[in-house]
Symmetry: C2
């Protein structure tokens, strides 16, 4: 259900094709959401038949034809109404936490390896986010409205990756103490 609203949110700035939604969203909604192209095409169809978006067929000569989707006024209305609803707080659902929870079952050095790999992924994300912030959001107050809100979600990414790194380090300290 939320994916439909994520798609609508991605269509607020300008109309997009399913292909763009599934690949070019890098740098905005991809900070906190993902979906396969199959699922996105499906949701676009269902949004279309609900009248929340409308498709326009565009023929291309050197590339395959495509369908450009734009949000309708009904879609905008529904999106606004949904935004104003209370959001419930989802659980983390990160497999790494299950692994740590049951971590006493395996040797500490194995867990450290698993943790280090996760840490490296988190660090890579943080670097990417910080790079994006430096490049596009260096002076937030001069940005147009929609980009200022995008920046807020990027900020969330930066704050959280840092929190992850802190937790990884704290956890790693304990695991190291179990080896020596």
């Amino acid at each position: 259900m939320s994916l439909q609203y994520a798609i609508l949110a991605a269509l607020t700035s300008k109309p997009k094709t399913g292909y763009e939604l599934s690949s070019k969203i890098e740098g905005s909604i991809a900070y906190f959401w993902n979906a396969s192209h199959q699922q996105i095409y499906k949701e676009l169809k269902s949004l279309d038949s609900a009248g929340w978006v409308s498709a326009r067929d565009v023929s291309q000569t050197e590339k395959p034809d495509k369908k450009v989707y734009r949000m309708t006024s009904l879609g905008l209305k529904e999106l606004k109404a949904w935004i104003a609803e209370e959001a419930e707080t989802p659980p983390a659902k990160d497999a790494l936490l299950i692994k740590i929870f049951a971590g006493h079952l395996v040797p500490a050095r194995i867990l450290i390896e698993v943790l280090n790999k996760s840490r490296a992924q988190r660090m890579a994300r943080l670097k990417r986010y910080e790079e994006i912030e430096r490049t596009y959001f260096s002076s937030p107050s001069s940005l147009p409205d929609d980009l200022r809100f995008q920046h807020l979600t990027l900020r969330r990414g930066i704050i959280f990756e840092k929190a992850w790194l802190n937790w990884c380090d704290e956890t790693r300290e304990y695991l190291k103490s179990r080896i020596h």
Copy 2:
């Protein structure tokens, strides 16, 4: 798939019924995972037919009969192997972030209300986690192994709820500046 491992992780300390798994997990795995009782009964059946857990029927006179599940040695072996595998980093998938992303579409005071409600939920969790830490984990070094690992996942919860609160405050400051 991960739910099966979450169930196995919950069964490491002692055998449990589906009912206990779906309700009494409060205070451990519930910090970062959830599931309906229907789904848990389904997964227990599938784990049973795979030989990763085994069920024992227990008749009770004053309560309904129950099935107590314990992990088998095969289940333990598989859980250990899974823990040692690299964990990929999932996206946040929190609807609040979609709402903020498209936040320029609604009046700032509406968004502040939505944010405040989320913030209150986060704050309540943090208080709960801190209370649990004070009560059960005040001197971690004297704890048995499995509880020390449980404590690590609780620490993650505490660190993350604090990070959420920081982000909420940062975001609220910006939203307030849009009203005045």
